[in-house]
Amino acid sequence: MRVSAKADYAVRACAELASSPHGDPVAAEDLATGQGLPSSFLERILGDLRRGGLVASVRGRSGGFRLARPSGEITLAEIIRAVDGPLVTVRDERPPSLEYEGSAASLLDVWIALRASVRSVLDEVTLAALVAGELPAHVREMAAHEDAWTNP
């Protein structure tokens, strides 16, 4: 199981856009440089984000990309879904689509619980909160327990 590079880059690019002064558009090359991301990969990601309604492109000399909605209204889960599909898949399917029989019947409950646990973090953290380092209370509790906000 992996957090894809795509999901990681997409969140970081959006965090850059969220921090742009006055919400000014940011050129793709500047996003790439700012976050140390590969340019062509980033272009594809921005395309997915645009199609997902999370960013908008702005033409012209001072053009580039900007967030399509306020950063306080965009969750990390939405960003990841726009570029990477459902948050949790098993055999490339959403958990509820799976069918198990016999001794494996309870396994579905595990995959459903897995998806709930991922959602409990990523559905609850907005782009604005990520940039500000402010977490919702229950996510903060998890973080406090596990000392999760210190980087290794």
């Binding site: 199981m1 970081r12 700012g34 990390l76 898949t89 494996a104 995959w111 596990e146 999760a148 906000w149």
Partner: protein, 136 residues
């Protein structure tokens, strides 16, 4: 967070072995009972053997059996064995990974997600699954 078909099949194969324990189970039987393609089942059982979850016995009465107790095998152990660490971000060239500034909290957030996943997967053993005792 994408659980591979391999990991999913691996857990199901182990559940079947646990159900039949201490009998030895042939690959063909595993393939049929859980509707797994046989070649796939063979490959996975080989991986599981190398990881220490199952032992194999050759010969006419050969097959596979669990190498450990079902209550000692957590789902997380199997998923990690087949799919690697629960949350990883694919490596980028050194010096290119920039988590400064606006994205500085992101690594910790991925770590937090990893912890939540581990809580779920490491808290359930094969024995729990067999007894249908998977809590909310």
């Amino acid at each position: 967070m994408h659980v591979s078909a391999k990991a999913d099949y691996a857990v199901r194969a182990l559940l079947l072995l646990a159900e039949h324990a201490p009998e030895v189970v042939k690959v063909e039987q595993l393939a049929v009972e859980q509707d797994l393609p046989q070649q796939y089942a063979e490959g996975i059982l080989n991986d599981l053997r190398k990881l220490g979850f199952v032992t194999s016995r050759r010969g006419a009465h050969g097959g596979y059996s669990l190498a450990r107790e079902a209550r000692e095998i957590a789902v997380g152990d199997v998923v990690r064995g087949l799919d690697g660490p629960l949350v990883t971000v694919r490596a980028v060239p050194p010096g290119r990974l920039t988590y400064d500034g606006v994205a500085r909290h992101l690594p910790a957030l991925w770590e937090l997600t990893d912890q939540r996943l581990r809580e779920v997967l490491d808290g359930v053993t094969l024995d729990d699954l067999l007894r249908g005792a998977v809590g909310a």
